[in-house]
Amino acid sequence: MDSAPARYAIRIRGHLGEAVLSAFPALVPQHLGADTVLTGALDRSALYGVLAEVEALGLELVEMNQINPQPESPESGDSRPR
C-alpha cells in the first residue's frame, strides 16, 4: 500500500468561504472560474478525510487529480518501445 503523501488537486463547485475553508486546513484554495481548487499533499487517510468533509458539508465534487507524479526512474518499469 502506498503510504507516502502525494499532491492532489480537488475541484469543487462554487467559491468556498472562510468558514468552509477552515475545514480543509491542509489544502491551499484557488478560484478557478466559478469553482474552487484545493491543492495539497495528502496521504491515503488524509485524502479520505478530505473526501468525507466534502461529503459532510454537502459540497459538489467536480474532479480530483493527483498532480506532479514522481518522475519515473529508469529502472522501474521500462515502457519505451523497443
Partner: protein, 854 residues
C-alpha cells in the same frame, strides 16, 4: 426493503419524518437515528433494539441499561430478529443516517438482519452514500426499492409549492432562477425559504444569490444566519457542539434564558432543528446544518470553543450523564478533568455493563496520557480485569490506583476507595483466591452505614460485589451451602439497588454453584440466569458465561452432545476477548469432556492439558482440580500414552494422589496395562466411601471400572452387580457420560435383560455408546404428533427392549444406519429426546398397543 441514497441535504430525513408521521399510519414505525461517527457496534444495535421495542425516552441518560462489557453482534442480530418475530403487526424499521455507522462488523451483521427479515417487517435505510451492504439477492428478487438523489430533487413546480407553503410568492423568472441555482437541492431551498420568508425584496435576494459564486450551502447559511435575530444566531452557533441540546443546556451555553422557546420555534419553522422525543424537550440539528454551524463557530468565535465544551461537560456531570461529560471534557482538551471523571465513574459504568464505552473513552486519551494522569490506572485495571481477563496487568494497575485513591481529596476518596476495594475483590475472585476474598469480604458481617445517599449507594455496590465474589470462590472450593446463600443474597441486593448486571452475574454463578445438586435443579437455575440475561440483551456476555458453560457441561454428562456443543459455542461467543483463567479453565474441562464423550482422545487430552496448565495461574487448588488431573491421566491411558500417564501419576503429591478421582485414573491405567486386579484395588476406597470425591460421577466411574475388572477376571456375576449399581446411581439424573468414558458397552450388553431395573436408561446409554448423541429435550410435549411410517413403527416396537441399535438392525435385517435414520425420525416425530422418553410418548399415544402392530 427501501434504500434512500442521496447526498447531505437532499431531504432524506424530512421525507422519512413526513412519511412516518402521516395520519392513518397502519404500521408500527421504529426509527433509529445513527449517531455521528458511530464506531460502537453495540450502541448501534442497542439503538435498533430500543427502537424495535419502542422503549420510551431513549434520550441520553434514559438509555435502557443494556450496554454490556463485551458485546456480540451476531447474538444481537438474532435478538432483534426474534423481537420482530414476536410482533403481531407489520413493522417498519427506519434507519436514518446509516452512513454514520463506521463499524464493518455492524454493517456485516446488518446485512444479515436485512436478508433475514420476516415477512411482516419492511426496512427503510437512508444514507448519504451507497454502503457495502450485500443486497444483490434482494435486488434480484425485486424486494429492494431504491430512491436516489434525482428522485428527491425538487422540480420547479415543487419548488413553487414549497415556497408558497411558507407564504412566499416569487415571479416565474425568479422561481426558475432559484430552482436552477439550487438545482432543486432540498437543503438549499429550505435555507432560501427561511431567508425569503420575511425578506423585503425576495426578487433581489434571488438575483444576488444566483449572481454569487459562493457554494449554495455556505451562501444561504450565511444569509440565513444574518437574517436571524442576534439571540437566535448566538444560540445556533453556541449550541452546535453537543450532539443534542435541551432548553436548559442551551441557556447555559448561550448565557441567557429563553432557549427552549427559540428551539421550538426553529423546529416549527422547519429550520433544520429536530426534536428527539415526543415531549419536545431534546433537540438535535440536521447534521449538515450542525457541521456548517460548527465551522462558523470556529471561525467567528474560536476562543469560545473550549469554553463551550467545558460548560457542556459541567452540565452533563450535574445531570449524571457521565459519558457525555467525559467526551466534552476531552474535546475541551481538559485531559486532567476528563481523567478524573473517568476514574471516578469507571467502576459504576462497569456495574451497569458499559465496559465497552469505558474502554473507548480510555483509548481517546492522547498516547502516553497514562503516565501523565496516574488516575487512569484505575480505568486500565477495570479494562484489563473485565474486558481482557489479563489479571497480572490488572493487579499492577490496581496497585497504582490504590495509591492514587489514598492521595485523592476527601470528596472523591470514598468512591475511589470503594472502586479499588471492589476491583481487589473481583481480582481475587478471578484468581480463585479463596482466602483473599474471604479476608476482604469480612466487612459483610456489619451492616451498610453512611452519612449520605452516595455513601450508602457506594456501600451497597461494594456489598453486592463482595457477595458475588465470596459466593463464586466458595463454589470453586465446594463450600456450596455458603456459595448458594451468598450468591442469592447478592442477586437480591443487586436487584434492590438497580444493578441488573450484577444480578445476572450472581445468578449465573449460582448455576455453577448448584452443579452438585440434582441435574434438573442445575439446569433450571442456568436457564433462569440466561433468561434474565437475555431480557437485558446480555445473552452472550461474559457475565452469563458461567451459566452457559454449566449448562453445556451438564448436557455432556447426560450424553446430549449436540445440544451441549451448541451451548458451548454460545459460551465461546460470550468470552471472545476474555482470557481469564478462572473461566477458561472450566471451558477447557467441558470441551475436553465433550471430545472424550465422542471418543476423540487426542482432542480431549489437549483440552484437559490446557486446563491443567491453567491451574497454575489460579491461587490454591480448586474443587475440580483432582477431577481435571484424573480425567487427563485417564485420557492419556485411553489414548495409549501409558508411559506418560504413569509418569504423571508418580509426580502427584500425596493429597492429590489419595483423591477418588486419581484412584479412578489409576484403575484406568491398570486396566489399559492389562492388570485388572490392581485396577480393582485402585478404586476400592472410592467404592467403600473412604476416598474424598468431587461428586457421585466419580463413584459411577469407579463402579464401572470395577465391573470391567471383574469381567476380565472372569467374575461375570460381580461384573453385573457393579454395572447394576452404576445404573442405579445414574438413574435419577439420567447420567450417561461415565459409561461412555469407561467404554462399558460390553459390560452393559452382558447384563441379562431381565436382571436390570434400569432397562430404558441402559438402552439410552447403549445408543450413546454406539455413537449417537441424544436429541435435545426442549420441546412442547402436547404438540401434535406426525404420523409414523410403517417402517418407523416396526423400529419403534424394539425401543422398549434392551436391544441396542446394532441388535435391532440385526433383528430387522437392515443396516445400523437405516435404524439410526428411523430412530432419529421417530424421536423428531414424537418430540422425544431419548429412548426412554420416546417409549413413554409412544405409550401415551398408544402406538405400542397390539392393535397397531403389524
Amino acid at each position: 426493503m427501501t434504500t434512500i441514497s442521496a447526498p447531505a441535504g437532499s431531504g432524506k430525513t424530512s421525507l422519512l419524518r413526513a412519511w412516518a408521521d402521516r395520519p392513518g399510519q397502519p404500521h408500527r414505525v421504529a426509527i433509529v437515528h445513527v449517531r455521528r461517527d458511530e464506531q460502537d457496534a453495540q450502541l448501534f444495535w442497542l439503538a435498533v433494539l430500543g427502537a424495535v421495542r419502542q422503549a420510551p425516552g431513549t434520550i441520553g441518560g434514559a438509555d435502557p441499561p443494556t450496554a454490556t462489557p463485551e458485546f456480540n453482534g451476531p447474538a444481537m442480530t438474532d435478538r432483534v430478529l426474534s423481537e420482530f418475530a414476536d410482533q403481531p403487526d407489520r413493522v417498519i424499521l427506519v434507519i436514518d443516517d446509516l452512513h454514520e455507522l463506521n463499524s464493518p462488523d455492524a454493517l456485516a451483521e446488518l446485512t444479515r438482519l436485512l436478508t433475514n427479515l420476516p415477512g411482516n417487517v419492511h426496512a427503510v435505510l437512508a444514507t448519504r452514500r451507497d454502503l457495502p451492504l450485500r443486497l444483490q439477492q434482494l435486488r434480484l428478487s425485486g424486494e429492494l426499492a431504491e430512491i436516489r438523489a434525482a428522485d428527491l430533487r425538487f422540480s420547479e413546480r415543487e419548488t413553487r409549492d414549497l415556497l408558497e407553503a411558507s407564504g412566499i410568492t416569487l415571479s416565474p423568472a425568479a422561481l426558475a432562477l432559484l430552482h436552477r441555482r439550487t438545482e432543486g437541492w432540498a437543503a438549499g431551498l429550505r435555507l432560501a425559504a427561511i431567508s425569503l420568508a420575511h425578506h423585503p425584496d425576495p426578487e433581489r435576494f434571488v438575483e444576488e444569490f444566483s449572481g454569487s459564486d459562493r457554494t449554495v450551502a455556505e451562501y444561504l447559511m450565511a444569509e440565513m444566519l444574518e437574517r436571524q435575530p442576534e439571540e437566535v444566531q448566538q444560540l445556533l452557533l453556541r449550541t452546535s457542539l453537543p450532539d443534542r441540546v435541551n432548553g436548559e443546556l442551551a441557556d447555559l451555553l448561550t448565557g441567557r434564558p429563553g432557549s427552549e422557546r427559540i428551539l421550538l420555534a426553529l423546529e416549527d419553522a422547519n429550520a433544520f432543528v429536530i426534536s428527539l422525543d415526543p415531549e419536545r424537550a431534546w433537540f438535535r440539528y440536521h447534521h449538515l446544518f450542525a457541521d456548517l454551524l460548527r465551522l462558523e463557530l470556529r471561525r467567528a468565535l474560536p476562543e469560545e470553543v473550549p469554553v463551550l465544551h467545558r460548560r457542556a461537560a459541567e452540565w452533563f456531570i450535574q445531570h449524571d450523564q457521565v459519558v457525555d461529560a467525559i467526551r466534552h471534557a476531552q474535546a475541551a482538551g481538559d485531559w486532567p478533568g476528563a481523567a478524573r471523571l473517568l476514574a471516578d465513574n469507571s467502576f459504576s459504568l462497569t456495574l451497569d455493563g458499559q465496559l465497552q464505552t469505558v474502554d473507548a473513552l480510555l483509548r481517546a486519551f492522547p498516547r502516553g496520557a497514562g503516565g501523565d494522569y496516574p488516575e487512569l490506572a484505575l480505568v486500565h485495571a477495570v479494562v484489563d480485569l473485565f474486558v481482557r481477563g489479563r489479571l497480572d496487568e490488572a493487579a499492577a494497575h490496581l496497585a497504582v490506583a490504590a495509591t492514587c485513591a489514598e492521595a485523592a481529596p476527601p470528596d472523591r476518596q470514598r468512591r475511589l476507595r470503594v472502586a479499588v476495594a471492589s476491583l481487589k475483590l473481583s481480582l481475587a475472585r478471578r484468581r480463585g483466591h479463596f482466602a483473599g476474598v474471604a479476608e476482604q469480604a469480612k466487612f459483610l458481617a456489619s451492616p451498610v452505614t453512611g452519612e449520605s445517599h452516595e455513601d450508602i449507594a457506594l456501600g451497597s455496590d461494594l456489598r453486592a460485589v463482595a457477595l458475588l465474589s465470596l459466593g463464586t470462590v466458595e463454589a470453586w472450593f465446594l463450600a456450596l451451602p455458603g456459595a448458594e446463600r451468598h450468591l442469592r443474597e447478592g442477586a437480591v441486593l443487586a436487584r434492590e439497588i438497580g444493578r441488573p448486571y450484577l444480578e445476572v452475574a450472581c445468578l449465573a454463578q449460582l448455576g455453577f454453584a448448584s452443579m452438585a445438586g440434582p441435574f434438573a435443579t442445575t439446569r433450571r437455575r442456568c436457564h433462569e440466569a440466561i433468561a434474565l440475561a437475555d431480557r437485558y440483551g446480555w445473552g452472550t456476555d461474559p457475565v452469563v458465561a458461567p451459566a452457559l458453560l454449566t449448562l453445556a457441561g451438564n448436557l455432556v454428562l447426560t450424553g446430549e452432545f449436540d445440544e451441549a456443543e451448541r451451548w458451548l459455542q454460545r459460551t465461546e461467543q460470550a468470552l471472545q476477548t476474555d482470557t481469564g483463567p478462572d473461566i477458561r479453565l472450566p471451558v477447557h474441562i467441558v470441551t475436553g469432556l465433550l471430545h472424550a464423550g465422542r471418543r476423540r482422545h487426542r482432542e480431549a487430552l489437549e483440552e484437559f492439558s490446557a486446563a491443567e496448565h491453567l491451574q497454575s495461574q489460579l491461587e490454591g487448588s480448586h474443587a475440580l482440580a483432582s477431577q481435571v488431573t484424573g480425567w487427563m491421566l485417564a485420557t492419556q491411558a485411553r489414548g495409549g500414552q501409558l508411559g506418560e500417564a504413569r509418569a504423571s501419576l508418580v509426580a502427584l503429591d500425596d493429597e492429590r494422589a489419595s483423591s477418588g478421582e486419581i484412584g479412578v485414573a489409576r484403575a484406568v491405567i491398570c486396566l489399559a496395562e492389562g492388570n485388572p486386579a490392581t485396577a480393582l484395588a485402585a478404586v476400592q476406597n472410592v467404592l467403600d466411601g473412604t476416598a474424598p470425591v468431587v461428586g457421585y460421577v466419580t463413584v459411577v466411574e469407579a463402579q464401572l471400572l470395577a465391573g470391567l475388572a471383574h469381567r476380565e477376571l472372569g467374575d461375570q456375576r460381580a461384573a453385573n452387580q457393579a454395572a447394576e449399581r452404576a445404573l442405579g446411581l445414574a438413574e435419577s439424573d439420567h447420567l450417561i457420560l461415565p459409561f461412555v468414558l469407561t467404554g462399558s458397552a460390553e459390560l452393559l450388553e452382558a447384563v441379562p435383560r431381565h436382571e436390570t431395573a434400569h432397562a430404558a436408561l441402559l438402552a439410552d446409554i447403549l445408543d450413546v455408546v454406539h455413537g449417537s448423541s441424544l436429541a435435545a429435550k426442549d420441546h412442547a410435549p402436547s404438540a401434535p404428533t406426525e404420523e409414523l411410517s410403517p417402517t418407523e413403527l416396526r423400529v419403534l416396537r424394539y425401543l422398549p427392549t434392551n436391544l441396542s441399535r446394532v441388535e435391532i438392525a440385526r433383528e430387522l435385517s437392515v443396516s445400523v444406519n437405516t435404524v439410526n435414520t428411523h430412530v432419529r425420525s421417530i424421536y423428531a416425530k414424537l418430540q422425544a429426546r431419548d429412548r426412554s422418553s420416546a417409549v413413554q410418548r409412544a405409550r401415551e399415544l398408544r402406538l405400542l398397543s397390539a392393535g397397531r402392530m403389524r
